[in-house]
């Protein structure tokens, strides 16, 4: 239902005014509304003053609103009785009531806006800070679109309900009571008649919204399908074009679009009959009040002014009942959203405790009997033993899916091993705080991820205090200087859409520059140059051997030219180490490395 992934800018605008058209929209039920309510109450209590202001204003507004028709009614009576002299005084009271109600409404709006601002600020802030602090494992295991939707849709729903629906609920209740009291003081039978029509309208609304919900659900699903097609076909437009599938894609789209339109027409027709039907019921009530009121007036039970008052009160009476019915659905949906938010907040954060002091003295890395599985029962690393001597360059090779990246994940403590341990200069990585560990280890990842910021900001990501001179130096070494200079504003060019305007190779160069600039004690390159041509890669390597002199580095690559001059090459297969040694040793051995090597450099002769 509201789980549709809203990854792009589909975030709704803040809703203003009455929540029209939302009725009948599918609602979900929270599992434990009490728990969620309790925690939301904590957010509310932080905004105590604003809540109080809101409630006070509602009280005043409702009181004034309920009282005003009384004066109007009296004024009309004076008109009928031809006591014109008393009219101005009554109108004066009426006016005062309305002015108070007007000011109250305004202040109510202010309090509600401030309240909403405060709540969403803290709620979304807390959620974001939580997500940033979660272990990588959690984020890998959850759809990013889903996390996004909790940050946007769910948080917004909750804040809207808190700031608007709670206020409306309170004001509806008060209005209901106030109006009922007023009506009863005028005429009991007329009040009962009004109630009858109101109950009728509530029943009709309920039946209609139940029918509507069915169509809305179907429409929502179809809309999801349609958006799926659009997303897939437009992102994959190059493939669509290359394979001449434009017309097939359009046909598929047309079919879904037509079906959506048919469903949407049905859903919207039903929902737009709601207006006229409500209008009819209101008018019916108006007529019934008029006819019976007239009859009572002729009999002398009530005055003409009372009829006038009743026409206003009957409307005031039916509105809050309908509103409350809608609010119920909204509150349910918001509570379900709140539950989803709180589930994330209840996840344990990544443990950042441990030794703060850097353990790196020389730079020895040691894996001891490490076993690991992402999913229990599906082991991916088996008894991994490896010792990297200080200052050495070590390479991991092996076919796709053999566990190379997993080794990096373990070293960075993105994941922790099931058993065994990893030591840096004799200190267990589990004893070192993750902050210290990650400060020490620089990494260039497989997916080159850049931020919406200037090139300069991206390069200085690790530390914005670094000088431009350092930055230029790192940029030159990583060959990304020329990339930056070719951009319209050089280093001040803002990269948007994760560097969408750059080629894959150029992005890799920038991420390498970023890692070089952070001058880590240990460096990991995970397929960092896969999209860079071999000549440029060679330049980077030469520069790197200078930069990384006396520093340990770990390199993962497919291209054997990337890793050939490593001090030690580790060949992995299905989570096991099959051979280790230098390039020459491994070639001489004639094992798996030899086979890999032969296919690359002499592939044709086999």
């Amino acid at each position: 239902m509201s789980e549709q992934t809203t990854s792009k800018s589909t975030m709704t605008m803040g809703r203003f005014g009455p929540a029209r058209g939302r009725m009948g929209a599918p609602t979900e039920k929270p599992k434990n509304s009490k728990g969620a309510l309790k925690r939301l109450a904590a957010y509310l209590s932080a905004e105590r003053m604003r809540v109080l202001l809101l409630l006070a204003m509602i009280l005043i507004t409702v009181a004034a609103g309920v009282l005003a028709p009384r004066y109007q009614s009296s004024a009309i009576d004076r008109l009928v009785d031809r006591r014109f002299g008393e009219i101005p005084r009554l109108l004066g009271f009426m006016l005062i009531c309305y002015i108070i109600s007007g000011i109250g409404t305004f202040l109510q709006g202010y309090a509600s806006a401030r309240l909403s601002q405060g709540v969403i600020r803290r709620l979304r802030g807390d959620l974001f800070h939580k997500i940033i602090g979660l272990p990588i494992g959690y984020i890998d295991a959850h759809a990013h679109g889903d996390l996004m939707s909790r940050m946007t849709n769910d948080a917004e729903n909750v804040s809207n309900v808190i700031s608007q629906s709670l206020g409306s609920l309170f004001s509806s209740l008060l209005t209901l009571i106030g109006t009922a009291v007023m009506m009863l003081t005028y005429s009991v039978p007329l009040t009962l008649l009004t109630c009858l029509t109101v109950i009728g309208s509530v029943v009709v609304t309920n039946v209609l919204s139940r029918i509507m919900r069915r169509y809305y659900l179907k429409r929502q699903t179809l809309l999801g399908n349609l958006n799926g097609i659009v997303e897939e076909k437009i992102t994959g437009l190059k493939t669509v074009t290359a394979y001449n599938l434009q017309d097939e894609a359009s046909d598929e789209f047309t079919a879904t679009s037509n079906e959506l339109t048919r469903t949407a027409i049905k859903a919207d027709i039903i929902s737009s009959t709601m207006g006229p039907i409500m209008n009819m019921l209101n008018n019916m009530s108006f007529v019934i009040v008029a006819v019976f009121g007239a009859w009572f007036a002729v009999k002398g039970y009530i005055s003409v002014g009372v009829i006038s008052a009743f026409t206003i009160y009957s409307r005031q009476f039916s509105r809050p009942i309908n509103e409350m019915a809608q609010l119920y659905g909204q509150i349910q949906t918001a509570l379900a959203g709140a539950e989803r938010i709180f589930t994330v907040m209840d996840e344990p954060s990544e443990d950042m405790s441990g030794q703060e002091e850097s353990p790196v003295t020389e730079g020895t890395i040691e894996f001891k009997h490490v076993d690991f599985s992402y999913v229990p029962g599906k082991q991916v690393i088996f008894d991994f033993n490896l010792k990297v001597e200080p200052g050495k360059k070590i390479a991991l090779v092996g076919s796709t899916g053999c566990g190379k990246t997993t080794v990096v994940n373990l070293l960075m403590r993105f994941y922790d091993p099931d058993s065994g341990e990893i030591l840096i200069d004799g200190v267990k990585t589990t004893d070192i705080s993750r902050k210290t560990l990650r400060d020490d280890v620089g990494i260039v990842l497989q997916d080159s991820m850049l931020f919406t910021d200037t090139v300069r900001g991206n390069l200085k990501y690790a530390n914005s205090e670094l000088t431009d001179e350092d930055m230029m130096n790192a940029a030159r070494i990583s060959n990304c200087d020329q990339v930056a200079r070719a951009l319209p504003d050089g280093y001040d060019t803002v990269l948007t859409g994760a560097g969408a305007s750059l080629s894959q190779g150029q992005k890799q160069l920038l991420t390498i520059g970023r890692a070089f600039l952070s001058l880590p004690k240990l460096l990991i390159l995970d397929e960092a140059t896969s999209s860079v041509d071999t000549r440029t890669e060679k330049h980077i390597q030469d520069a790197m051997s200078e930069l990384m002199k006396n520093r340990t580095s770990l390199i993962i690559a497919h291209r054997l030219s990337t890793i050939r001059d490593a001090d030690q090459i580790v060949v992995m297969d299905k989570g096991h180490i099959v051979e280790t040694g230098t390039h020459e040793e491994l070639l001489a051995k004639g094992g798996m490395y030899h086979t890999l090597y032969m296919t690359q450099f002499a592939g044709q002769s086999t």
């Binding site: 589909t10 975030m11 803040g14 109007q72 009928v80 014109f84 006016l95 007007g102 409404t105 709006g109 806006a113 401030r114 601002q117 997500i131 990588i136 990013h144 659009v230 997303e231 437009i234 992102t235 190059k238 669509v240 074009t241 001449n244 434009q246 359009s250 679009s257 027409i265 027709i269 006229p276 039907i277 009819m280 108006f286 007529v287 008029a290 006819v291 009859w295 002729v298 003409v304 026409t311 796709t400 960075m412 993105f414 990650r438 991820m449 919406t452 990501y461 994760a498 190779g505 150029q506 071999t534 000549r535 060679k538 497919h558 054997l560 030219s561 890999l596 296919t599 450099f601 044709q604």
Partner: protein
């Protein structure tokens, strides 16, 4: 906007019907207060002809009122039905045409609009326009009718009431105009700030590894807080401006009611009107002013709808950049020369950019030849091969396929003859089998398997839970990069077109697999022209000839041995891959 009108025009009859029913509904609503006045004046107060209260009149007028109410709601429902038919169908037409148009966009048009913007346009913007159409009919007609009809009804009750309307109306309008004028620019700003907050969230979730490895959690939290505060401030401003609208209107409305009772009082005293008429006047003025209030509410929808309509017009009015050629028949693409490709003094730069990507390229590739293209990042390799299936047009010179200028072919015909396996393997969320058969839906299972075997994909596909029938996750995320590439290659092979281009499509494959793939390609697809962009010299060496591209020009063409002698660029690339290496060389 004009483009959008043509879409609405098709459903103009429905829209007119809807408007007519809407007018009827409002008219019926406007009759009621008058009948009510009659009940009060003549029925209760006995001020009519009979001179005494008349219950039978009350009942007969009451019954007529109920009938009118029923009639009113029927017209209201009919109006809703017709407007929905009009808006939804017009929206559907618009959506389908936009999508079909986008599907035929050239690559440079896609670059120009950007993928994300095209997606929002086909979804969000169409919705906005749909709203615009229905609001135009429903709310605008409704407000207009309440205004015109209500004013007429009010004035016809007693001319002196119109003075009150003349005073109240400008006040209400001033309030609306003030709020709209103030908020309108803020809405764009709000949208932008909302986008940047979404962007921060998306970037940080996707890039969580980078954030964590550089230990920048604090910085990202601060960035989020700043962006959110910025958004919330604007949001607050907008909400406050909107909050301003209602109380002011309510006060003006109630002032008007007070004035009506006052003026009415004087009139009643003079005997010009009766008390029931004053009650009717109160109802009318509330209806008129409430109608205006509705107008303020829909203003947002209208202004957003107009912006969206403009964005859609841009798509629909985009002139096709690549003119369609006339040669449709496949006989132009048969025979022995079909796989022949000639570049004749070809230069190229991307539309809207001045920097020349390719300069004076002359090249002839014979039918059935295997050609490798090598060169450093950004030298124009992909641009070169994009000219063959006419993904872009040359800026000077000609590209010929089968001895005919590519611009003379029908695009579909040309692209059936030239299959490109793209650098980025895009898979769709259907089964693996369907992904492979994408360009050849009639292919037999055995053909599909054959193509997959050649692409070295058969074995891993068989290991998938449902084999060839395994559904691929959106964007192919359930497969590894290398697996995606192999499915994409199988897809390209299955088309059996006379020219096959592999644009660095094996970069994620390990060496053994890549070698096996090229071996199979050589054996099973002997007769087709194969052009491949490669990074590894080892992959290039097996080609009949190697083209070395450097800074948009051809540096050299030849075999591996020839190039080692002739081309410095080639030697550089080669050496970067085989430094201090005896082993690889001596195997030859």
């Amino acid at each position: 906007m004009r483009t959008i009108f043509t879409y609405a025009k098709k459903y103009i009859v429905l829209a007119m019907l809807s408007s007519a029913f809407m007018i009827a509904e409002v008219a019926l609503d406007l009759i009621q207060p008058r009948m009510m006045a009659r009940i009060v004046n003549e029925g209760i107060l006995g001020l009519g002809g009979s001179g005494h209260p008349d219950i039978s009149l009350v009942i007969s007028v009451g019954i007529r009122m109920i009938l009118l109410v029923l009639l009113g709601s029927i017209t209201g429902i009919l109006s809703a039905v017709f407007v929905n038919l009009a808006a939804q169908n017009a929206g559907n037409d618009l959506r389908k045409d936009c999508f079909a148009r986008i599907m035929h966009f050239s690559f440079s048009e896609v670059d120009h609009f950007s993928t994300g913007s095209l997606i929002t346009r086909t979804t969000g913007d169409v919705d906005q326009v749909q709203h615009l159409i229905s609001q135009m009919v429903r709310s605008v007609v409704r407000c207009g009718m309440f205004f015109v009809g209500g004013t007429y009804a009010l004035v016809s009750l007693n001319l002196s009431f119109s003075v009150i309307l003349v005073v109240a109306l400008p006040l209400i309008l001033a309030d609306i105009i003030f709020v709209v004028w103030k908020t309108n620019p803020l809405f764009n700003l709000l949208q932008k700030k909302m986008d940047s907050l979404n962007n921060v969230i998306q970037e940080d979730i996707n890039g969580i590894r980078v954030v964590k490895s550089f230990v920048q959690e604090k910085r990202e939290n601060a960035r989020f807080d700043d962006t959110q505060d910025d958004l919330l401030q604007t949001q607050f401003k907008v909400t406050m401006l909107m909050t301003f609208l209602r109380p002011v209107m309510n006060i003006v409305l109630n002032l008007a009611i007070v004035a009506i009772i006052l003026v009415g009082g004087i009139q009643v005293r003079e005997g010009a009107i009766m008390p029931g008429t004053v009650m009717a006047a109160i109802t009318y003025i509330s209806q008129i002013l409430n109608g205006m209030m509705l107008l303020a509410m829909i203003f947002q929808t209208i202004s957003r709808g107009v912006v969206s309509a403009g964005r859609l017009s841009e798509i629909l009015n985009a002139k096709p950049e690549l003119e369609e050629g006339v040669l449709k028949k496949t006989e132009h693409l048969t025979g022995r020369s079909v796989g022949e490709i000639v570049f004749d003094h070809v230069s190229f730069h991307y539309p809207g950019q001045s920097q020349e990507i390719l300069h004076d390229i002359n090249l002839r590739i014979a039918s059935g030849e295997t050609v490798a293209i090598v060169g450093v990042t950004g030298c124009g390799k992909t641009s070169l091969i994009n000219l063959i299936p006419r993904f872009y047009d040359v800026t000077a010179g000609t590209v010929k396929v089968g001895r005919i200028d590519v611009r003379r072919y029908n695009k579909a015909t040309l692209r059936n003859a030239v299959t490109v396996c793209l650098q980025k393997s895009e898979l769709f969320a259907v089964t693996i089998k369907e992904n492979i058969a994408l360009g050849n839906p009639d292919a037999q299972d055995e053909e599909i398997r054959e193509a997959a075997r050649c692409a070295q994909a058969d074995s891993f596909i068989n290991e998938q839970p449902d084999g060839y029938d395994t559904i691929v996750a959106q964007g192919g995320m359930s497969l590894s990069g290398g697996q995606r590439q192999r499915v994409a290659i199988a897809r390209a092979l299955l088309r059996k077109s006379p020219i096959l281009i592999l644009d660095d499509s094996t970069s994620a494959l390990d060496l053994k697999t890549e070698a096996a793939l090229y071996q199979a390609l050589r054996e099973s697809y002997r007769n087709i022209t194969k052009i491949m962009i490669v990074q590894r010299i080892a992959s290039a060496r097996q080609a009949d000839k190697i083209i070395v591209l450097d800074k948009g020009t051809i540096d050299a063409v030849g075999t591996h041995e020839e190039l080692l002698k002739e081309s410095q660029v080639y030697r550089d690339i080669y050496e970067s891959q085989s430094k201090n290496d005896e082993g690889g060389e001596s195997r030859e």
